[in-house]
Symmetry: C2
Subunit: 416 residues, 2 copies
Amino acid sequence: MSRIVMKFGGTSVADLDRIRNVAARVKREVEAGNEVAVVVSAMAGVTNQLVAWCQGLSPLHDAREYDAVVATGEQVTTGLLSIALQETGVEARSWQGWQIPIRTDNAHGKARIAGIEGAELIRRMQAGQVAVVSGFQGIGPDGRVTTLGRGGSDTSAVALAAALHADRCDIYTDVDGVYTTDPRIVPQARKLTQVTFEEMLELAGVGAKVLQVRSVGLAMRENLPLRVLSAFEDKPGTDIVAELSGDQMERNLIAGIAADRNEARITLTGVPDKPGTVAQVISPIAEAGIQVDMIVHAATPDTGVSDLTFTVPRASLAQSMAVIEQRKGEIGYEGLVHDDSVAKVSIVGVGIRSNPQLAAQMFEVLAERQINLLAVSTSEIKVSALIAEQELDLAVRVLHTAFGLDAAKESEGAAA
Amino acid sequence: MSRIVMKFGGTSVADLDRIRNVAARVKREVEAGNEVAVVVSAMAGVTNQLVAWCQGLSPLHDAREYDAVVATGEQVTTGLLSIALQETGVEARSWQGWQIPIRTDNAHGKARIAGIEGAELIRRMQAGQVAVVSGFQGIGPDGRVTTLGRGGSDTSAVALAAALHADRCDIYTDVDGVYTTDPRIVPQARKLTQVTFEEMLELAGVGAKVLQVRSVGLAMRENLPLRVLSAFEDKPGTDIVAELSGDQMERNLIAGIAADRNEARITLTGVPDKPGTVAQVISPIAEAGIQVDMIVHAATPDTGVSDLTFTVPRASLAQSMAVIEQRKGEIGYEGLVHDDSVAKVSIVGVGIRSNPQLAAQMFEVLAERQINLLAVSTSEIKVSALIAEQELDLAVRVLHTAFGLDAAKESEGAAA
């Protein structure tokens, strides 16, 4: 017997038939002897309608009233799913953020969970009652409803699972797991059986949009296993775990290839080569709320000047350029160039930590295909290369093949 | 300066434009120096959608989950109206039943208000903040959301006004006041300037569907003046008061004529004329939850038998007949006849109390038109006659004229 939290997003509860489908899945877990809490989002489309109403009345609407309005979407789903469960003979009741309570800070519209009182829910789950909980919402210090921001239901589910001392948190979604790369780029992409929290954070952070990054970080801190699986099909998903299990140690050293087109490059040439130059350039950009990613600082020997290249999100390019131009006198650079047709390809895997040759292998594979590296950055479990955007798909494909990630073809799979 | 509660029903908040219209009306009261609380219903159509979803999942859905679902309709309106008010520069915040709290009993789907804590709202209203309160809902003893049943928002408004020690409760609706009779029957029907609680109860109880009867009874007990007025047009409404004011004492003795088609008549003939017979017939019908209205028990002298006639709501006729037929041996009647083409016409007015000739006048007017009286009942401020349904419209018209209720014609009004 396990205690599990199941989370269903908006498309999984979009209409009464899909709510019945969710009830059937919950019933199966209950009949397997598990204690179950379910976290649900608003029915697809409902939140957008509620947001549109708020916008229609005032573009600068009060975030507290916005929260009171949009939190109703989840409340409706909890009541309907409870009714659907009761109809199939499963005892259930709905819980809103203020009833549990799920306490948050006062940052309406983007609140953070401060604490969840799990005792009463645990008591009822032990007595066989399914707790159907509104995701995405809580109650602030002043007794008003708060919301966690779009996509916050994943975080609600993980935080609730931690508070309930659950054995696992299952995230049901419209994809059926975490893949080695974007299947739209590489049709041979394979679903991973297991992936570590760290790998998932790197894969999510650079483009795999399966789970909210915040919820993965929380699960890692709480050491709470996650499972991503399809809400619509009965097939195995992907387990997200602290350490790969014994039978997974033979998995590829590389978990996946991440592709990110949301990159723009800025280069300052002829920058005085003295201590503090990098900070002088980067700090004002960071202070403007712009996330600087890769940074390359290359001094030309014996000239006293250097080139500084860095990347920012493409949408922040114009603002970043303005910040730099404002400080031209202060920084003292000669040239300023930018390029918004760059992209980032990364190999991600816990194997990188103990296998430094993996980075070299990546560069060799790209070099063989004449793909030029504009910048490189490495971390414990990730190596990223900045390349021309038109070479991104090719880079992902050749790396996917080179690191042994391609799925066996149908015929080979049948023969194996 | 007054403290007032304003109540707006579903059609008055049906879309963003109408919500803006409500905000403008509230702003006007605030600018007139009043402390204001607003009670709102769900946007028209929203509650029906929510109910349909519950029904779609289970015809016998749990009333507690039904309440959790349908209560969201009002929550949305409170948030949106608060945003609309803030947009016009009026300070406002939304309040749900559980936040105030509005405590109710545990009768989910048809709960009764047990108490409202008004202190915090009064404090904020005194500081200039408008309280925008969800009608129709509260919180039960177990911390779950309850609803008061359809139409309960009127009751919410009156109960809140009492708890806030308001000077007045204004009910904005899609009719513009209380009329002397149904204008569809008598085009000359006039809007009343004032009507007493008792008159309103009798008018509402017999067909005038302006206000929920329960809310009028509550206002009478709390001695809280009500005002019914149009949400869409700027014109005077009808004040509902404990006693007519001095300038209204010249009003007609009769406030209005009520028409009720929802009547069916049952007659038992040859019933033994002994004490307890009436109770023997009526009690089992009342026990079946059916409201018995008029009762006529006429003994034929020196025969030892009598005829017993009574009326029930038309929808309960078949069930009432079955109850009587089951008890034929016990009661010992000879014949049993029924008639569902009867109707009830009533004159209502505080003047009836001190003017017994008004009843006689009513009977004469009906007799002049050859309208046969099948039964008669009288109360302190009402005289009702049961007549054939096809004579109802004629009866209402002639009584309306005879008691001086017809509005002056346009031309006469202009000349006056």
